[in-house]
């Protein structure tokens, strides 16, 4: 009896869960050698990076942004064009892919986040539209609707990341590091300040918290992380086109966080995984994807506010409390 209890308590322990997760990631390419399964894991990792900043922004600052697809695309196009057209080293392109959307986010945030309310959400909707028109129409720069192809694989100096298995490790290293980074932020002075802002902007202000400054910083972070994700995507698939970066994706990302649970890391990982496998799950019924997705969203919002991981978290806390008695 006691051993079972200890085992159950162990399973509920966050550190052990994290350890098991990282263990699975390490052996994944050895167990699942089929290319399409490794693809699932790589795209999940890329979506984790894409979602991590956004989850801080929505879950801890209480703001919405629909710019994620534009920043993702900006990152993908920046490093693709720099490496294919100008012959820039891939690692430099990769850094630029984080920097350009970051700067764009900083500029937009500085202009709109000083206002109270959800102006930023509207501006980011427009940004997505503008980005899409720009990459489609500016044929001479972006290749127009036919996109950019022949993008070289990731390489850092002499080390080239070519096989799917090695790409899996690179992507997940970046994904896990960004999750740790965001978790550290939420458990610290900055995280408390963000929760304070979400609780009451007036109270936060009189306690010396620069409310708009923090909103701008976290929004900048959404740009940087999306740009990095975009670069990871482009150098893996080696071909990008405007259709990869539409407003649909931005909306999907916001909604998937609401379903997964926006407050914790497991919500981000779950959202990323779901985004990747959702098309496979439907199989031949692809054309009903929006309908199915809509129904799931409504059900989650009605019955599981706080998202799936929010509810599981509470259940685990409850079970723990019972076991500890």
């Amino acid at each position: 009896m006691i051993t079972i209890r200890l085992l159950l308590r162990g399973l509920f322990h966050k550190r052990i869960l994290t350890g098991v997760g990282i263990g699975v990631l390490l052996v994944f390419p050895f167990i699942f050698s089929r290319e399409y399964l490794i693809n699932v894991s790589i795209f999940t990792g890329i979506f984790v990076v894409l979602l991590v900043g956004l989850s801080l922004f929505i879950g801890h600052v209480g703001q919405f942004s629909f710019a994620q697809a534009a920043f993702y695309g900006m990152g993908a196009y920046t490093s693709s064009l720099l490496t294919t057209r100008l012959g820039v080293a891939v690692w430099l392109g990769f850094l630029a892919a984080g920097a350009l959307p970051g700067l764009t986010a900083y500029a937009i945030g500085s202009l709109t986040l000083r206002l109270r309310g959800y102006y930023l959400a509207m501006v980011t909707l427009a940004l997505c539209g503008i980005f899409h028109v720009f990459v489609t129409e500016q044929y001479s720069i972006t290749g127009g609707p036919s996109g950019v192809y022949g993008i070289p694989p990731l390489s850092f100096g002499k080390i080239r990341v070519e096989s799917a298995a090695s790409y899996h490790y690179v992507v997940w290293t970046i994904a896990v590091l960004s999750l740790i980074f965001s978790r550290n932020i939420t458990k610290s002075r900055v995280g408390r300040a963000l929760k304070a802002i979400e609780g009451s902007e007036d109270a936060a202000t009189v306690l010396g918290i620069d409310v708009s400054g923090y909103k701008i910083k976290i929004f900048t972070l959404t740009g940087v992380s999306a740009g990095i994700a975009g670069s990871l995507f482009a150098h893996y698939v080696t071909y990008i086109a405007p259709g990869n970066f539409t407003l649909d994706l931005s909306i999907w990302l916001v909604v998937i966080l609401a379903i997964g649970g926006v407050r914790n890391i497991s919500g981000v990982v779950m959202g990323a995984g779901f985004t990747t496998i959702f098309p496979f799950l439907l199989g031949p019924y692809q054309k009903y994807n929006m309908l199915v997705f809509g129904i799931i969203l409504v059900l989650v919002l009605m019955f599981l506010p706080g998202g799936i991981t929010g509810v599981i978290g509470r259940k685990i806390e409850g079970a723990k409390a019972k076991l500890l008695v």
Binding site: S188, V190, G191, K195, G199, A203, T205, L207, G208, D210
Partner: protein, 255 residues
């Protein structure tokens, strides 16, 4: 010497004059009370002093510095603390974390330092945890340390908010109706707390409807009505002034 000087302070909300040409001073290490009927502009004055809304005209000099040109979030670091009429505690943070937020302006760890979990950030974190625990001990809130602040009873939420405001080490503490919603026993406890805070060197500006409390603790009373100052003086004079009695206390209010 005055810690706070207010000159010709005016606030217009779309044509409605909420505060009309108000002047007053708050002496260092005193308790100054602002009283007046609802809508007299008391909270608006508080908002302008604590940076939540710029005055339409006039100036606020605190510790020799003009406040109206300072960025709102920097006022805390200059020594202005504020407690709200309805406690604005952070319900989703623990009681301890609420007080730790009070040390925000005295600490420096930014996004990068906290994200990378640098040793300097860990040291800072341990330090303010200790400080915050001491503040909780002062307010007998130590046993609720880990509870979510939103689960505290109302009276304790107010104490927590005062503890959090004191964590910012204010020279001037603004208390907006601190006894509203408290039981007589809780009010008595709070009254003694306020006196202790004053004795430890913090200047207090208080908006309060509980007049017996106002008259028993304050050194100076300012009376507002329809945004104008109609009287100011020591409590003994205020309670005898006919204009004040007409506007606010009522002829049968104090016998």
């Amino acid at each position: 010497m005055a810690l706070l000087d207010i000159f010709n302070l005016t606030k217009n909300f779309d044509g409605l004059v909420a505060v009309d040409n108000v002047n007053f001073s708050v002496g260092e290490r005193t308790i100054t009370a602002i009283i007046g009927p609802n809508g007299a502009g008391k909270t608006t004055v508080f908002n302008m002093i604590s940076g939540l809304g710029k005055p339409t005209s006039g100036s606020i000099i605190f510790d020799g510095l003009e406040l109206t040109k300072v960025k709102e979030y920097k006022l805390c670091g200059m020594g202005i603390g504020r407690v709200f009429q309805i406690p604005k505690i952070f319900g989703e943070l623990s009681v301890l974390e609420n007080v730790m937020v009070g040390f925000h302006a005295q600490t420096r760890s930014d996004l990068v330092k906290t994200g990378l979990h640098l040793p300097s950030m860990v040291r800072e974190e341990n330090m303010i945890r200790e400080w915050a625990l001491k503040k909780l001990e002062m307010f007998n809130l130590l046993e609720s340390e880990e509870k979510l602040a939103g689960t505290l009873p109302f009276g304790n939420q107010r104490l927590l908010e005062i503890a959090r405001a004191l964590a910012t080490e204010p020279k001037l503490l603004l208390l907006d109706e601190p006894t509203a919603g408290l039981t007589p026993a809780e009010t008595e406890v709070l009254k003694n707390r306020i006196l202790t805070i004053r004795d430890s060197g913090t200047t207090i500006l208080i908006v309060e409807h509980n007049l017996s409390m106002v008259f028993s603790i304050s050194d100076h009373v300012i009376v507002l009505n329809y945004g104008k100052k109609i009287f100011e003086g020591p409590p003994t004079l205020v309670r005898r002034n006919p204009e004040v009695i007409d506007a606010y206390i009522g002829r049968r209010g104090l016998k």
